[in-house]
Symmetry: C2
Amino acid sequence: MFGVAKKLHESTPFDTSTVISITVFISLICLCIIIGHLLEKNRWANESIASLLLGIVSGGVVLLIHKGQNSRILVFNEELFFIYLLPPIIFNAGFQVKKKQFFKNFSTILSFGVLGTLISFCLVSSGVLFLLKKIGLTQLSTNDYLALGAILSATDSVCTLQVLNQDDTPLLYSIVFGEGVVNDATSIVLFNAVQSLDLSNLSSMTALALLGTFLYLFVTSTLLGVFVGLLSAFIIKKLYIGRHSTDREIALMMLMAYLSYMIAELMDLSGILTVFFCGVVMSHYTWHNVSESSRITAKHAFATMSFISETFIFLYVGMDTLDIDKWKESSSSAGTYLAVSSAMLALVLIGRAAFIFPLASILNYMKRDSDKKIDLSTQFIVWWAGLMRGAVTVALSYNAFSGSGEVSNERSLMISCTIIVVLFSTLLFGTVTKPLIRAILGAPRHAVSYASDIPSLEYLDFPFLEIQDNQEANVNGGEGEGEGEGEPQRRRGFSLLMKYPTGAVHHIWRKFDDKFMRPVFGGRGFVPYEPASPTGAAETTHEH
Amino acid sequence: MFGVAKKLHESTPFDTSTVISITVFISLICLCIIIGHLLEKNRWANESIASLLLGIVSGGVVLLIHKGQNSRILVFNEELFFIYLLPPIIFNAGFQVKKKQFFKNFSTILSFGVLGTLISFCLVSSGVLFLLKKIGLTQLSTNDYLALGAILSATDSVCTLQVLNQDDTPLLYSIVFGEGVVNDATSIVLFNAVQSLDLSNLSSMTALALLGTFLYLFVTSTLLGVFVGLLSAFIIKKLYIGRHSTDREIALMMLMAYLSYMIAELMDLSGILTVFFCGVVMSHYTWHNVSESSRITAKHAFATMSFISETFIFLYVGMDTLDIDKWKESSSSAGTYLAVSSAMLALVLIGRAAFIFPLASILNYMKRDSDKKIDLSTQFIVWWAGLMRGAVTVALSYNAFSGSGEVSNERSLMISCTIIVVLFSTLLFGTVTKPLIRAILGAPRHAVSYASDIPSLEYLDFPFLEIQDNQEANVNGGEGEGEGEGEPQRRRGFSLLMKYPTGAVHHIWRKFDDKFMRPVFGGRGFVPYEPASPTGAAETTHEH
């Protein structure tokens, strides 16, 4: 009887090794979720760190099982990362981001994310060129050094999301996270540009062409994301009025968001930017056009997908660390490893400091409103929280230094050292950030907060939640997303606008949105039923 | 500027053809969703047929673009099908199945699914052996004929789900669908057994060994699914009391369900059976242990995933039809195609009739309760609705006839002909089933019903929904899942039990469940807050 069962094995229609690796990874992710839950109240550890450590431990176990020959279950695969894991994370970030905060700090985010990354790139590139030559490396080309500059300038927005809390420190969160998204896009664009750069034919036009390409990519990627988001809102509004089908609505939102990423990649644009803005537009329009249960499902399902992808990435990077083949390929001494990694880490620290503090000072100087200025302690935390390097760095490093067959000693040294930087920065900076924020800014306003269960999408439909925000909204000229406040407040807001011109853009946008956009694309207030239903409110209070 | 953008292309970290095929498929799925929505009120067409036709059309377009050379975007990949697409569909089926109906008809389902499939297998195998030799095919071995018998005996439970409605025809749905799940498992087990059978060494023990293996697989697979389901309930109950985190709960449910499938496959059991029973147990225990928003999310997120997989499969099969290479490989004449396909289709019809009517008569004879007997018109529909062949058939056919390199003329003829049978049966039987049911059984009880938005999980927490079911539950000895009915009814149920012994098993189960299972694994009533909250009720009514 068992003989037959054994025999069946050979004819199973797929590869056993795939099944084994999937089984191991899913078990580990389950374990990470449980450990992460148990660590929730811990002020030092968080889920990323737990996953990373668990990944290293399992890598070690696999290494022992294979008797030191091999620690791989899955080889680090850039396709897996860029096509399947990254899009849900960035989309969810756009979907859950507090739009008001994000757009209020848009100038800050943009200057840090674009200008800052460029500054960091220049500094780190010349830094590695200088330092690595001092250490004694000779085989790397100028292209490689430039690539390293782009690789080491990519902040990890995934880990940032876990360390900061959108509800406790909204300003900090929106700046650091917003910067992270723009920074990801900038680094990838820079990296691609640098990889294809012909340095033998360098002229003053090259820099200009790079800048032009960058602006072109930024604008078109954003527009594509906005377009797909609006299209989804339009389709769902037109088709589903009166007869909602939750499964179809969710499927359509999810697939169209993914489609935006894929189209962007096909058109050689930045998929990350596209899918991020697609998420922003979807949460502003599409999300309000769907049924009540679709809203709850969308919010949580997108967050869950992003959560699983994040956990998977950290596990993956952790497991990849002990990949014995990689370490064997490089015959460098421990001293060289230490020297190169320390040099990289120092450059990451300096490169980030070199733009955060100067740019923040310039921005502060330009702002009249003293409330909106970024004080030194916040600047310090922004600098600190963005030091973590993550999966984007690893993926780009593999792409730069492993691809083309001729993997030399020093090229594999670069991969190993970027992984050391990623591990070290995530473990050290990730651990210290939470207590650091608490020490500098004081205890969070909310006594207890379970990050993922707080309704991150603005529940501004509900008057009772509005009250908290009123003070803030009034200062900014009443342009906050609170139409429920009625006409008198709006008029008061208009007079306040004269005094606070920073709100003017937002005010014009709201008027335009109400008059032209929302009648076509829906959004809050344009759904066929009362959105301020007690259901949602009961939902919110019930969860805690 | 554009020159640089063009250049970037070469250094994108992944293959462009993958991106193109993903983009095309996602766009087509979006289109299918929209078309399916527009066809919802149409009594002939349904989503499966729309996807299938759209797949054929797009295959044709790709063929034209490639100037008749190639219609492939993705090659039909069994791994993709069995590892990624099938598990969510079957899990969701188990999760959403009406457990009361399913277990009430368990004997019928089991006899149709196991015994029936065996009968059909024997009949179809000997039928193809006889008919194909008559047509003039000579190259196929006895193993191939036996494989064909298993391949053609696999009903398509995916399409059945779309044609039948759980709320309109609960008895029919639970029989046809339940049989479909058991049948899938039986066919795959039979297929694997047949593939590994050594026919040169045939003895009377072979049949016995086969039966033994089958029973062993059936029992262990079911137990594994139940075990993983209970484990998930236990973990979530123990860990999350008091502080729920929706993302973690959903992630844990989803991953553990998938894990059960993977472990089953690793242990050479039937993953389909395992994940189905895991779904059943999760909806009975785990689902009740999570927070309110997790319940809504789980219900809809699982349905959405299943929905996307289904649409994808039909699109895929449709697109695969016009794969020109496959048709070129076989040099047979149109007459041979027609003859073989018709023979197969006839055998499918006969093979199914050969067990539905006799087995139904035997089952009717054994039942005392005339209410539970399956009348002839229902038998006819059960026969008819199970005639569709789908993706499992295609996947198994590829596995049997394309793998081992030596693809002969007749072997590729077999693949083409099974695809013709799948297309023909889905298009014809799928189209006619809905009107046929209406013609035979009369109009459905519910005037308008949007299949996917009706709360398929039993919302028996809510007393007002209970009323409808009361009559039925009382007949069966009050063993229905309605504790809300109070003590008097339960005692009445106990006296009724004497008269209706079929309910005895269920009654014992309920007592066991209440006394031993639910205190440990949770389930309805053991959650820390009032489950019959107005939120859920408001939710249900709001959706329509």
